[in-house]
């Protein structure tokens, strides 16, 4: 009476992509309620993560925050929401939406810089969004695209900092700042996000999303 459950073989990216390519375009790009709400909750969850991350470093090294090159090492954390949400939800605009909302939550929680971080969020979201758009039109969500998107977010963040704070720095310092920041972003927001999404999918939490269909089933 009960069916024997064979474990489904792990499906690779190519077969999932092939399946998605045959989906009607409308449902591939249209946001369902669950897409919007989960993207929003992820962004808000990162409001908590930012708060905890800030606490972690404020208590250990007080002067850290005043020494920008050191800050650049940890910058990647602030850039995770955009890449992560896009990898989970896979809908156009996900990176921008998540970064905007995460930074709005930060602002509401009372960051030092106030609403200016919302502006940062917008630009830091647009950069990876463009990568996902240009690299195959929202069809590729594997590690290489994630790394590229994270790198783009890093460049955007460093450019913003240069424009607002560090325009008078010497070229040497600027280049090192850029390099460290982008590296941090690639590692934390790129590899980190991709890895997080895989582990989230393994828990079954992402079953409502295409990113969740790639897990082994028992």
């Amino acid at each position: 009476m009960s069916q024997q459950q064979r474990p489904e073989v792990h499906r690779d990216e190519a077969s999932v992509d092939a399946e998605r390519a045959t989906e009607p375009a409308a449902s591939r790009y249209a946001w369902r309620t669950v897409d919007i709400v989960v993207a929003a909750v992820l962004a808000v969850a990162f409001g908590v993560v930012f708060w905890a991350w800030g606490n972690l470093w404020n208590t250990t090294v007080a002067g850290f925050t005043a020494f920008p090159p050191a800050q650049a090492f940890m910058y990647g954390v602030w850039l995770v929401p955009g890449v992560l949400t896009m990898l989970v939800v896979r809908k156009p605009g996900a990176a921008v939406f998540a970064m905007l909302l995460a930074s709005t939550v930060s602002a509401l929680l009372g960051t030092v810089w106030g609403p200016q971080v919302i502006w940062y969020g917008l630009i830091e979201g647009l950069a990876p969004e463009l990568v996902f758009l240009l690299a195959m039109g929202y069809r590729r969500f594997g590690l290489p695209v994630a790394l590229l998107a994270a790198a783009a977010a890093g460049v955007a963040a460093a450019s913003l900092d240069w424009y607002y704070y560090y325009r008078t720095w010497s070229t040497g310092w600027l280049v090192s700042y850029f390099a460290i920041l982008v590296a941090s972003s690639v590692v934390i927001a790129g590899v980190g996000s991709w890895f997080l999404v895989r582990r989230l999918a393994a828990t079954g939490a992402l079953d409502a999303f295409p990113s969740g269909r790639e897990r082994d089933r028992v």
């Binding site: 009476m1 009960s2 069916q3 459950q5 449902s27 582990r199 393994a202 828990t203 079954g204 939490a205 079953d207 269909r213 028992v218």
Partner: protein, 500 residues
Amino acid sequence: MTGARVEARGWGWRHAGRRSHAVRGLDLTVGAGERVLLLGPSGSGKSTLLAALAGLLDPANAGDAEGRLTVDGLDPRAARDRSGLMLQDPETQLVMARAGDDVAFGPENRAVPDVEIWRRVDDALGAVGFPYARDRRTDQLSGGEQQRLALAGILALSPRLLLLDEPTANLDPDGARLVREAVAAAQQSTGVTTVLVEHRVAEALPLVDRVVVLDADGGIVADGAPADVFGKHGSWLADAGVWVPDHPLPERRRRATPAGTGSDPPARLLVATDVGFTYRGSPRPVLSGVSAHVEAGEALAVVGPNGSGKSTLATILAGLLAPTAGCVRAAPALAGADARRPPHRWRARDLATRIGTVFQDPEHQFLTGRVRDELAFGPGRSGEAAAAVARRVDDLLDRLHLTRLADANPFTLSGGEKRRLSVATALTTSPSVLVLDEPTFGQDRRTWIQLIDLLAAHRDAGGAICAVTHDTGIVTSLADRVVTLEAGRLAPVPDQEVTA
């Protein structure tokens, strides 16, 4: 307003991506105004049926349907404005920051004219007996108040079919009672058709006139008046995990030790003296002046209404939270050299070998990606040999009936399996004291009994149990002693030995 009529003919549903059907071959008719209790073992598709009746399952992309299901003769998706679905978790049903705004959310979505929205909001709030004004913050409400607010949000849309998916599962007894009263009031004043899924059958009976039992393999196994159904099928329903009324629970209190057996009085492993706790920046203390102790070979239940500070006391006793007043001391028998320091200053690694804590949400404690690794984590860290650890893990898997899930991701387990796993992982480091926060929350009867047996075994082997709970079943079945808290203090009645 009369109720809707529900008809199912050979209806079945298979969720997308799953191999087996959630529901199969369902033939059911529910007349207008009827009040039905839907029962069945886990996996019999009760929640799926409710979701389908609410019109939330779309054959185009959520799965495959077979047969026919209608509400008032219409496809449920066309009849969505006639049905209202109430879910189990209050926190994920509320949308807005203020109570009135939340009730207005449904009417706004359904394009109810602006002028009428607030009239409906006020009527709905009154109908559920909501005790506050419209601008009350939703995050300052208790679970029971939140669920009543969720019900108000549904009633504001004047449904003809009320679907309730375990509405009181996450609530304490007082909150649950108030929600049931609100549902009863709605039934009486509107004659709405009700389909209720509820574990705590005894308390749900006043809300229904008919019981329908689904079979895990499809179809209906029993259908009729409650007395008939439980009379005929009570035993196997109880075995399958349904809380059938008037079926007694196993007795697991310790055997009374005769006085003067020659051994020493039981060791007090943890003693809390005048403990208090206040959150930073908060004017009122959560706990104050509470003294309690945990003894070896005894199961202690900590009870009290919501907000009485029970969980805080448990986390302080477990060494996870430092009290802001008073102190907690461990006996040398428990802590060895560390007895001089309070538990909250112990290294986590040592703490885990002395006091195990089981949290209300098992997922908070999962550390690895495989059930087997979860069980091996504790012993592995304290440096046991790999072969010995593997053997212990296999033994535990067997005892907990988790062997076939050994390689599964812990997060993918069912609620009952997760609960068993989290208790097991706490026990793998062989702590003497086991502290549990609401261990039987939302469990069906079968898992409940397995859990009580596990805890009793630990206690009988000489360990100590401290369980914070709303569940009177634990008090009557397992607890050897009860501590009652009220508003952060010990209730006037002192610790009482639970008489046999």
